[in-house]
């Protein structure tokens, strides 16, 4: 008796399946879509910050060469707001009144034969405004606080007495700047109607969300609305909501009875697709002399626009970060006359972790305890709220192995004590974490008579490598060589998928693909179980191995048959099965774990026995600070990551590096600036400074930990993880290098010189 082993592709470092297409310019992004009869739209944006449109003169624009239509609030029908998605409400629809609530609000749309004609006619639209005084500061007495159903107020224990009694206290204000996502792909929408059916090519991370929003806006059946986005072009969260230009493109197409395309300009990307709002955070930490945390009190105020709602849970991370008996968190939102914010990579968590991880660092100096030691001392071995053991938690390994890889032991604790040539050297670290999240997701899998597999779901790949890891997963689960697997994404006609956001999509889709592929194999097993012609007759899922495009009896390699042969014999063209993921901690009967081609029954943990852990990271940073010029350069980063089961170390590593790069930007460079009048002034990538390659030097990523027990797949979300705790790790390193604590991001050169305005 011999057995055959197959080797999983999952877990190996593989190039992107779509890499070649992208490098050759053959991947079609929404901006590339061209249709016969296409008209082009350009947006006119408000140049005031707050007030009303008194008059819009469109005659010159209408008469300009090539112009097909000019749309304003005066000729726009009522558009309904779409239903809330998995992650909250959509922005309000555009052109519904004469109110101007922020700089850069769309006030008119010009449709013309060419993009150039639309742009030049847009410049002819003459808007007369009535100005109001905008609300531009949290201290403005007209600034109102938003209350909403996601009130992120949490209390554990008694924070005020614990703080009062604490032997050591840190009590500081931390601020983070407004940041803008800036994916390299400009957001584009191409809309075309056929009766009441609407097809839209759109830069979105949520095709089903966009479908539902557009159906609601125009009062048509969602079944007739189709969103296509095979390639996104990056988004970092900007594609999670249906922004005003999307219904406007559909409206223009309806009015002109032609396909209409709108592409935002880079400047418009700063005002029209959301951003990370700024925060002011008050953080108090109390501890005993020997370094045990007694209390954390975290209060955040962040900005939100004058209308609409947005979930922004800045302080939630502080609740479960450490084994601290007394914790209170408050996250408030203050209405300001700013462009409508949205989500940007680890929204809330990136900002909140800056405050918390800075304060913990400050505490380590106050106590004279090594920052890693302090964190290990206060490690939450169980979930701090319900005392349940974690479903997986390798944070301690992140600390230890990351520190080792980094060479933390060479650090001398005294600030300004380390130098390299003429540069001040600082070592800093920070803890990163992102809570577990896995929304429901469906997928569909087909095996065709030619032996190829086509697996698909209506989510997106905005760049992390979803096509690649899902192809790998499907290949393993079906035993079909990866070259013969095609994965489909970016089409709302495919099974319903959640947004690609909240670091929940690999888990959501991966578990759906896994479950669906198991069902496909099960269907083949059922087909041959009493098929006398099949060498597999009588087989059961537990006794087979899938490999080489077919099924083998595990103990008898001679008993093998390809899917193609089975389909042919049964006169079938294909086998297609739809499936869905089970919620974490639950399992459907279909769920097995597929390993090396075998099917192993998966038993989820008994309900209520484990706390579903998210992903963890420990970041270690070396900065070099020029003692005279005060420039800061991040010389080295080591990030140790507990990401559960890593499907593809190469794409996973890229995700972490991307988060680190964005963390460097957040810590040192990025700030979306409005001047005192409320006008946005950093509206290009020359003025809004993100980290470039020269700023992201020696970066090392280390994966630790085990597959998570809560789902068959065992993954954790790592798309946003790396930016959490990253800005603090850098700020902590800057403190170690310079002896000056920077609590306000970005740590720009004037701050390091001590010469920022107001000082």
């Amino acid at each position: 008796m011999s057995t055959t082993t197959t080797v999983d592709v999952v877990g190996t470092a593989r190039d992107r399946v779509d890499g070649r297409l992208k490098v050759m310019g053959a991947a079609t992004y929404p901006i590339d879509v061209n249709l016969p009869g296409l008209a082009h739209a350009a947006l006119v944006q408000s140049t005031i910050i707050s007030g009303r449109i008194r008059d819009i003169a469109v005659d010159d624009a209408e008469r300009a060469p090539g112009v097909v239509a000019v749309i304003t609030h005066l000729n726009t029908p009522p558009l309904a707001i779409g239903p809330p998605t998995e992650i909250g409400p959509q922005p309000l629809p555009p052109f519904q009144s004469d109110a101007v609530l922020h700089y850069g609000q769309h006030v008119a749309m010009v449709v013309a034969e060419t993009r150039e004609q639309a742009n030049s006619a847009a410049a002819l639209v003459e808007v007369t405004y009535e100005r109001d005084t905008p609300v531009l500061s949290f201290d403005d007495e007209r600034a109102t606080e938003v209350t909403h159903p996601w009130t992120p107020d949490h209390d554990r224990g008694d924070v005020s007495s614990a703080l009062a009694e604490a032997e050591v206290r840190i009590n500081q204000i931390y601020t983070t700047a407004e940041n803008t996502n800036n994916p390299i792909g400009l957001f584009a929408t191409v809309a075309v109607w056929d009766g009441d059916a609407l097809t839209v090519h759109d830069t979105t991370q949520n095709p089903h969300g966009a479908r539902d929003a557009l159906a609601a806006a125009f009062g048509v059946d969602p079944a007739g609305v189709r969103i296509l986005v095979p390639f996104v072009g990056g988004a970092f969260g900007a594609g999670l909501r249906v922004w005003p230009h999307v219904p406007l493109a559909a409206l223009a197409a309806r009015i002109t009875k032609r396909p209409v395309k709108v592409v935002l300009t880079r400047a418009q990307m700063f005002t029209a697709v959301g951003h990370r709002p700024n925060t002011i955070q008050l953080l108090s930490v109390g501890a005993s002399r020997d370094g045990l945390l007694a209390a954390i009190d975290h209060v955040s105020r962040s900005s939100i626009g004058m209308e609409g709602e947005l979930i922004n849970l800045v302080t939630n991370g502080s609740l479960t970060a450490y084994a601290c008996p007394n914790v209170s968190t408050r996250a408030r939102q203050i209405r300001q006359s700013i462009p409508i914010p949205g989500w940007m990579r680890a929204p809330g968590e990136a900002e909140g972790s800056f405050a918390l991880e800075s304060a913990i660092d400050e505490l380590s100096y106050a106590l004279n305890i090594d920052p890693i030691e302090l964190r290990i001392k206060n490690h939450a071995h169980v979930h701090p709220d319900n005392a349940l053991p974690w479903s997986s938690n390798a944070l301690l390994d992140c600390y230890r192995l990351g520190a080792e890889r980094f060479g933390w032991s060479a650090r001398t604790p005294e600030p300004r004590s380390m130098r390299k040539m003429d540069q001040l050297v600082g070592y800093g670290m920070g803890r990163g974490a992102l809570g577990a999240y896995q929304p429901p997701c469906k997928a569909i899998a087909t095996i065709r008579r030619d032996g190829t597999a086509f697996v698909r779901s209506g989510g997106t790949d905005m760049g992390p490598g979803t096509y690649t890891v899902m192809s790998m997963l499907a290949a393993d689960c079906l035993g079909v060589p990866i070259e013969r697997v095609r994965f489909g994404l970016g089409d709302s006609a495919m099974p319903k998928a959640p947004q690609e956001g909240g670091s929940g999509f690999t888990g959501a889709l991966g578990n759906a693909v896994h479950a669906t592929c198991v069902s496909v194999v099960r269907a083949f097993v059922n087909l041959v179980s009493d098929d006398a012609m099949s060498p597999l007759k009588g087989c059961r899922l537990e006794g087979i191995t899938v490999r080489n495009g077919g099924i083998q009896i595990t103990d008898d390699p001679a008993r093998f048959e390809t899917y193609a042969d089975i389909l042919t014999r049964h006169g079938l063209d294909e086998m297609t099965i739809e499936g869905e993921s089970a919620p974490p901690g639950e399992t459907s009967s279909a769920t097995m774990i597929v390993q090396e081609g075998r099917f192993i029954p998966y038993t989820p943990p008994s309900t209520g026995t484990l706390a579903h852990a998210g992903a963890f990271a420990a970041h270690f940073v070396e900065v070099n600070v020029d003692p005279d010029l005060r420039t800061i350069r991040v010389a080295r980063v080591v990030s140790a990551v507990d990401g559960g089961r890593i499907l593809n170390p190469k794409t996973a590593r890229s995700q972490i590096i991307g988060g680190i790069a964005m963390g460097i930007g957040m810590a040192l460079l990025e700030e979306t600036v409005s001047d005192r009048t409320g006008r946005l002034v950093t509206t290009s990538l020359a003025e809004y400074v993100v980290a470039v390659n020269a700023d992201v030097r020696d970066v090392d990523v280390l994966f630790v930990g085990e597959p998570d027990a809560m789902t068959p797949l065992g993954t954790k979300g790592i798309g946003e993880l790396a930016i959490t705790g990253m800005a603090a790790a850098i700020a902590n390193a800057v403190y170690h290098a310079t002896g000056t604590r920077f609590r306000s991001l970005p740590i720009s050169i004037e701050k390091v010189l001590g010469l920022q305005p107001g000082h």
Partner: protein, 329 residues
């Protein structure tokens, strides 16, 4: 972008007379400034005349000078072996600017004539005396972190963004032009850019249609000991917050002569002549350099957000001179 017609000539005189004949004509070289500003309606030429076919792309080296065609790319000039050898400050200045891709497109004349990055200049809805004479200046009380502290006026505080020009002014380059009537003239670099005063819209000493043909950089043996230091937020691909171009002529540790140019902090490529004079005959110490830096920035006027640039520029000056002093030549 406004519609325009596109013209090409092979003779400089034809190009110049075609440009001079129509007020809405502009030359196009690499297009990295012009097309960028056309796309945001800041520049709206009716006629765009391509200088590419004019063949102004030679670099001629003689014992006493190097002559650089107007159409030589920034990359070609920066990597030219004679420039690397004789004028490190020029090579370093060019290579500190923009990116490889942009430097491969950008030309020497285009670089000299590039426009300010002031966000209010670049926003047609803002008030800007430079873009629209008499409309006011939103930068004065606006976001002025990137703005100038030297050569400013009550009408304009826009920074001249070029790196290359700071090295050119320090090297006493001459700009050679051809007027529409075919006559040529020579404009010393330091007379070329004009401080805003109360006419910010007049930026350079060129007449309409006047074509830059080449730049001549006289040989300067001391320039072997020269350096360009650029300070900015990120490590690459950003305009200067402050920069210093220095040439140091040493006799042991005594300064025989020194030259100092400043970038990122002035409305024109800036030559700090008084500071240069003050260094003559002094010991080449950091303290001496700091004194010169104080002199160079004595007339600086800061606004709300750019105050730090004064101190930053002083430190950049000291560091640039100190680096030049230590250079092995």
């Amino acid at each position: 972008m406004k519609e325009f017609t596109f013209e090409r000539f092979t003779q400089t005189t034809d190009a110049a007379s075609a440009a001079a004949a129509r007020s809405g004509a502009m030359y196009l070289a690499g297009g990295t400034t012009l097309v960028d500003l056309m796309k945001i309606d800041v520049l709206t030429p009716d006629i765009v005349i391509d200088v590419g076919p004019l063949g102004l792309s030679r670099i001629d080296v003689s014992d006493d000078a190097i002559s650089v065609g107007a159409g030589v790319t920034n990359s070609q000039l920066a990597w030219h072996p004679v420039v690397r050898d004789r004028f490190p400050v020029l090579s370093e200045a060019i290579l500190s600017g923009a990116t490889t891709q942009i430097r491969n497109m950008a030309t020497v004349a285009g670089n000299i004539l590039q426009r300010t990055r002031c966000p209010y200049f670049r926003d047609v809805h803002a008030s800007c005396n430079r873009r629209q004479p008499g409309s006011g200046c939103d930068a004065l009380n606006g976001f002025n972190r990137g703005h100038a502290v030297l050569g400013v006026s009550e009408h304009c505080i826009a920074t001249h963004p070029s790196d290359m020009c700071v090295a050119m002014i320090v090297l006493d380059a001459d700009i050679h032009t051809m007027r529409p009537d075919g006559a040529t003239r020579l404009i010393p670099f330091r007379n070329f850019h004009v401080a805003p005063g109360d006419t910010p819209h007049i930026e350079v000493a060129l007449e309409h249609g006047e074509l830059i043909t080449h730049i001549v950089i006289p040989h300067l043996p001391a320039a072997r000991r020269s350096h360009y230091l650029k300070v900015r937020d990120r490590a690459s691909y950003e305009f200067a917050l402050a920069s210093a171009a220095v040439v140091l002529d040493l006799d042991g540790d005594t300064i025989r002569a020194a030259r100092l140019g400043l970038g990122g902090i002035a409305t024109t490529p800036w030559r700090a002549t008084e500071a240069e004079q003050s260094l003559k005959g002094r010991k080449a110490s950091d303290a001496t350099f700091r004194e010169a830096a104080e002199t160079a920035l004595a007339g600086a006027v800061a606004r709300e957000h750019n105050h730090f640039k004064i101190e930053l520029a002083k430190r950049a000056i000291v560091r640039a001179f100190a680096t030049a002093r230590e250079a092995k030549v």
